[in-house]
Symmetry: C2
Subunit: 269 residues, 2 copies
């Protein structure tokens, strides 16, 4: 089974249930976790994640520490990926990951690990990088506008999804809707902080965590003027976008384009 | 065999050798050519290409005429694609094609036709659309700068290549180098006017026509600050890009990243 655990950033370190979910899926106490901290420029990011994973019961989590392309393909890095049952991309700037890993043997190995069943997870920038086409940077706002989203190539664990992260916290509905209107076959998946969109076999999305995952589906899009507006940050018009807001336990079938809710009920007074 | 004939625009209609190349590869006199004119907003674009293909000996070229997503999946369109040995995307604005076809059954059928061996060609916008990640619009210039390229999702006949077109004529080296620096595993292929990059089995590029195809290869890229520059149209630095300029008959092996030149000699006086 192929599994992505795409976390929207803002992990609550005091009780990181979504990281536990990742560890569980990667083998629990037997998990071999490899951390890629390259999105961050802080020197201790790898160590930080290592410590957090240790606190959660992972034995010997490995952080691949390199900041130059020439060091990406080191034999010890390749070996660590080949042994991994879980691979975790930390937060920071997603383009750093693509520029450092893109086209290297390490990238190949990570993709192969995913296809043989290693669980791949990321938070924030580490979530953006999971798709073939990623949102590199942009502007906030609820209304889709020209120029609010800059795309770039990600690592390509899924070709069907465009992820966005810190979704509600940074007001990113507009840029995700803009992205989907450009090619309505893509599925926009906006992940809130401390929340994960768990994608299995590139076909089912399940939500875990304290926030929501917003699905922006363009499959039934009727019309848009996005292609006509190529300057001036003007708002674009779009008709027929379908949107689902999914919370913990809810799911979305990518092939059938069907959401299944798990309703929560407040306890009566 | 899978074949893409990616034309850089500016076809010389008096003697369109690169279109003849496409027709030949699609079956010559027996070719069933289907035209998609959706990138253009001119009403007679489909008819124009039909006439040109007829002049070149194609019997009954079919133009799929529709301007709304709801009409993309018409049974006659699906049937035409299923019978096609050659599919041709006309010029205009590439985002129109993605917004109209993306996520429709027609897009699926065209991708299937490509995989069973129908030759897929495009000119200008019709070339941009061929890759998973496309250059949607941007600014000219030889120096790569932040914000000079806007990417969006294409139709995805190849995940490895980013095409650019009118390459020399519109001074687009900078934006293609910028694109490749974002993910050095991508191969930049800049096609001049009246020139074609012919891609077979996603592994070999052969050049035909009167201009050049510029290959921008990031595989051996050493370092770049592209990820750090996200505003202000500032120039970016990149070390280790490899560039090949290929003319008629030259080729490039995508796996081996190796160019083979066919040298031309001016006749002696």
């Amino acid at each position: 089974m192929q599994t992505l655990v795409a976390i929207g950033g803002g992990i609550k370190w005091k009780n990181p249930v979504i990281l536990q979910e990742f560890i569980q899926r990667a083998g629990g106490a037997k998990a071999h976790i490899v951390i890629l901290p390259q999105a961050s420029r802080e020197e201790d990011t790898g160590k930080f994640y290592q410590n957090e994973f240790k606190k959660l019961g992972v034995k010997n989590p490995i952080a691949l520490e390199f900041t130059q392309r020439i060091n990406a393909e080191h034999a010890s890095h390749i070996k660590a990926i080949r042994n991994a049952t879980g691979i975790f991309f930390g937060g920071g700037t997603q383009m750093r990951i693509a520029a450092l890993l893109g086209g290297t043997k390490l990238e190949d190995e990570i993709l192969q690990a995913y296809h043989r069943g290693a669980v791949v997870s990321g938070t924030s920038a580490g979530t953006a990088i999971l798709s073939t086409l990623m949102l590199a940077y942009g502007k906030p706002g609820a209304t889709p506008r020209e120029g609010m989203a800059q795309f770039s190539p990600g690592l390509g664990f899924t070709t069907k999804i465009i992820f966005d992260q810190h979704f509600r916290e940074r007001d990113r509905f507009g840029r995700l809707a803009y992205a989907v209107s450009m090619h309505p076959g893509m599925l926009g998946v906006g992940v809130d902080e401390n929340t994960a969109a768990i994608v299995t076999n590139d076909s089912l999305i399940t939500v875990a965590g304290s926030g929501a995952v917003t699905i922006v589906d363009g499959k039934e899009l009727v019309d848009t003027d996005t292609p006509e507006i190529t300057s001036g940050s003007k708002p674009v018009s779009i008709s027929g976008l379908k949107v689902h807001i999914l919370t913990h336990g809810c799911s979305f079938d990518i092939k059938k384009r069907k959401a299944t809710l798990v309703k929560k009920f407040s306890s009566d007074d």
